[in-house]
Subunit: 334 residues, 4 copies
């Protein structure tokens, strides 16, 4: 019974169907009939102009999005546990040509305007220190918590205020679907002031396609050149577009996220006295001893330790009801 991660879950049947429907040879790269509809599909979804590019990993999505906002001599303010800081093997340093990540503390894996202002205040004027060019926030956060629309808006205000240059605002939405599901399902609800979104589909039922959504159309041209330059412009791009379009169709992305969130909520309710963080998306962090973890593993549950006295369980779109129920019972019984 697998609760390790959502990142290796199965592919949704509707995605398979869409990929197979795309098999007929079409124009290569992103010139095919599917890829060419992506901009409009996301503009529709968000109710505003945007450009959308597929890529094959969240790391590529984050880094190519940031590359539209950050010059090589700049920096990126982000949470100290952010994926770009902790889990991308130095990819931001590569894609941004040596730009500096500037980690901030923050409860629930979230950063605040206050933390941003405090860090900016530490940067001396002049050229001796790296100045931030952008802010990156993770929605849902690395500990499964969700920025409320007003929190994002406040960060966007901080980004646009001084001192110094207007900062770009990037959202790492590897679990954007889970966040939107938690917030009630309005796709654009938490995007005010966001310049670039990494919209994750792979953890949520796709196979190998994430979307970079750029709300500044001028950035799209840059991102397209950089995608090719990074070897991320696949020649049979139609298969990536097909995945994304299948996920958007009939709001499958939301339905899948709701299923994952519901499973996590069930676990969270069962372990409510042990929760390290509120369960808002599809991740559950609980205090539990080494012996308790051993017992759970002995009972057939797979999950990650989270430091010495804690564990992380992650649910996916395809969580099996009986597995979830079994783990909930086991957690309640600890």
């Amino acid at each position: 019974m697998q609760f390790l991660s959502d990142n290796a879950a199965a592919v949704h049947p509707a995605v398979w169907t869409a990929m197979q429907a795309a098999d007929e040879a079409d124009a290569p790269y992103d010139h095919d009939s599917l890829s060419r509809t992506l901009d409009a599909a996301f503009a529709d979804l968000f109710g505003r102009d945007c450009a959308a590019l597929w890529v094959a990993s969240g790391t590529a999505a984050n880094c190519l999005a940031l590359a539209t906002l950050v010059e090589p001599h700049g920096g990126v303010l982000c949470h100290e546990e952010a994926h770009i800081e902790m889990d991308e093997g130095g990819a931001p340093g590569f894609f941004l040509h040596g730009a500096k990540l500037m980690p901030l503390p923050g409860a629930r894996g979230k950063i605040t305007p206050e933390a941003i202002a405090a860090r900016r205040a530490q940067v001396r004027e002049g050229v001796h220190q790296v100045h931030p060019h952008a802010i990156s926030i993770t929605q849902a956060s690395e500990v499964g918590c969700v920025y409320r629309p007003e929190e994002v808006a406040a960060i966007a205000s901080a980004a646009q205020a001084g001192p110094g240059r207007r900062l770009g605002l990037h959202m790492d939405g590897a679990r954007f679907a889970n966040a939107v599901a938690f917030l009630g399902g309005a796709p654009g609800a938490c995007l005010a002031g966001v310049d670039a979104l990494s919209f994750g589909f792979i953890k949520n039922g796709a196979m190998s396609a994430e979307a970079i959504v750029l709300f500044d159309p001028a950035a799209a041209d840059l991102a397209r050149f950089r995608r090719k330059r990074a070897g991320h412009l696949q020649s049979k791009g139609r298969f990536l577009a097909a995945q994304i379009l299948a996920m958007l169709k009939g709001d499958l992305w939301l339905a899948n996220a709701r299923a994952a969130n519901a499973a996590a909520a069930e676990l969270g309710a069962a372990a409510k006295d042990r929760l390290l963080h509120p369960v808002e998306a599809n991740e559950v962090f609980i205090a539990c001893t080494h012996d308790e973890r051993q017992a759970l593993r002995g009972a057939g549950f797979a999950f990650y330790d989270w430091g010495d006295g804690a564990a992380r369980m992650v649910t996916a779109w395809d969580a099996r009801a009986q597995h979830v129920a079994a783990l909930a019972r086991a957690l309640a019984a600890l």
Copy 2:
């Protein structure tokens, strides 16, 4: 009737089957049971130790392979029409951190030990000029011609001889299968002295998986770090491994390449008085006037102009016999 390129052809049914068989969630990234067999599968194929990594594009394969051979201050000797020089949007500059491509002329899209030696002789000693660190050859070449085993061996000797450092030898094998099919089917026949091979599958029946094959196992560790850092370590890597394994199984890669080559040969025979290059793989380059091209297009054939007085036709593994026959007739009748 499509003869534009092999890069957007359909996916072979066996590849689909293998991908679907891999749908069951497994360990993420390259920890799954399929990815873990790749090293052995290629070692089997080539009869020598090697490491094999999947990536999603030929550009990524070429550049990550070269990154194991070239330091940022070095250069890469390659044909002036090489894909890395002409068609990868500057990706080598990105992946190699500013290393320099050093283009060489050469008939048939191939370079020679003499051209290599001549170029090396131009590089002054000392630090004022970029020194080559590696050679990259394309098999089959950009104009569909094939390096014979002794030609590769001679280049490998040139790489290992001085002056200066031993050069690494990379083979861009986007159409390696077509080349091996032409050479008689012994996979290792043209690899003596090659350090790193980009083994292409996407043009030959796969969807989104190429292999980087490294004959120096010490380079594999480096390539794995760099792949992650470039956003090319997909979380559901099992689907890429499945594609490659399906292509290797029962030598599907060779069968597909033979089919594409046979179609090209049929076209080449029909247009034998117009051929600009011998037809050795799956590309046919012919002299033909603007009016002739118009006529062919009017008859329903799609292909690229190749400068002012020429055209390129490319066949793929799924070339339809009646389309090929029709084009052959049309070419013969020009």
Copy 3:
């Protein structure tokens, strides 16, 4: 009798005096009272607004200037013999984060609007090829020839015309002084449409200071950050500013260049039947056999071979009249 290069010539006494006058401790970096006058000094000289930064080498000047005009995924059109292409050890690849140099042929070491247009026409639309972002011209050229004002203006027009983006225009002025001296001494005469100038002083009497002159003040901020980031912001920058100001004072830079040019002209006149290029600045290229070169060396003259059948002689600001006269005699007598 040294005619190898002007790059290691002695330092002019006025430069020594100015450096020593700057010895008193002052604010560090470029906050000292001398560095702060540079912008105004060059604005005065050129009669237009500009920003000026000192750096310690022509390579740094060229590459930092180009970094204000070229994004990492772009390219630089330049002559195939340009210093940035041939003699800077790959520095452009480093400073421009992998941007591509795009060499052009051209008589007299100069490029033309026609060559620029022809090269741009070869770049396919889309992301598969590197597009130029800037043009770099060398004044005087690598073979000692000078762009006339109307030639620069025509290139600037080409830079601003399409297809595609407006290109930046950089002038590598390692021997800008010699070019201006040849053109009659009006400093801004050949700068119409130039965005960034590397103004060389080191070959012309300074010790270790070149100026980057940026005619787009917005670029100055970028260049200042990049200079620091490249380790080129010296803490005792006042000594570099002092050198440059001493060279500007009373047009010492022009007087020195005229002296060097006059010496070269004397040599050129003596060897007029052997000249490979007109002698316009301070370099003389002559056809001469191996035996003739041996004879000249036997007579005490040091210079470089220029391929098999030619030689290059360079004169500096401190050329000694009797050495020049002796070489002129020797050349005439060959």
Copy 4:
């Protein structure tokens, strides 16, 4: 009365003399007769083989030294207040092609084997996190404290022990002279296990020359290529070599450092109840209120605030006895 920094102090007369003696034209770059003696001069000083390269700034020295130890996908363990982390404008990100700085806490601006081990233990195996490739320590530290030989040796042991690869060890010796003076004057005393040293001269009486000293001769070739590529190979390099040789001659570097240290010690003794750190080199950090700082400035002393309740005074080789005595009196009287 200037106690802001040692980085803009005057140039020592012996350095001026040596520079002027080098004025006669010589071979360019580092082929001149002075530059060619540097390796031997430092080998003599340290009693072991080494290579030595001049560069014009401490930032360049640090980053080029680190570039011999760190690959682009690696990291550098350093103190969280280290110059490379705080004050080099992102230069390490540039020179190391995006490698990651991994800051550590530590009393007195120094890091310990324990902190190194703790940080290494946090790095998960595999490619998802950046692994350190090198350690950089600052001698004397950013707060003027000195690593004892046994402290350096313990760090070197930590560098060579696992887990994972042997780490390179770099010493940022911008104030190496002050540290050696404090330790008793044996130049090699604190260098056991150090691979690369940035040996600072500019703060200590030179104008524009620091030395990169590499104890692995194989690294020298790499550093020479990278220096050129970074625009740091000056054409009149003889003037940098002259500065360094003048500083080494008769141990002028030690004499100057002793003078600066003595001045700082005098201040430290006067303010001994306010010291935030022991005064071991030429920097004095004292607790003092805003009003006290105002009073000192009113009395004519220039120095930096160090956060809200502290100040930093720095002494240089040319500290004037009466200024030092005056400040000592003022501090004692606070």
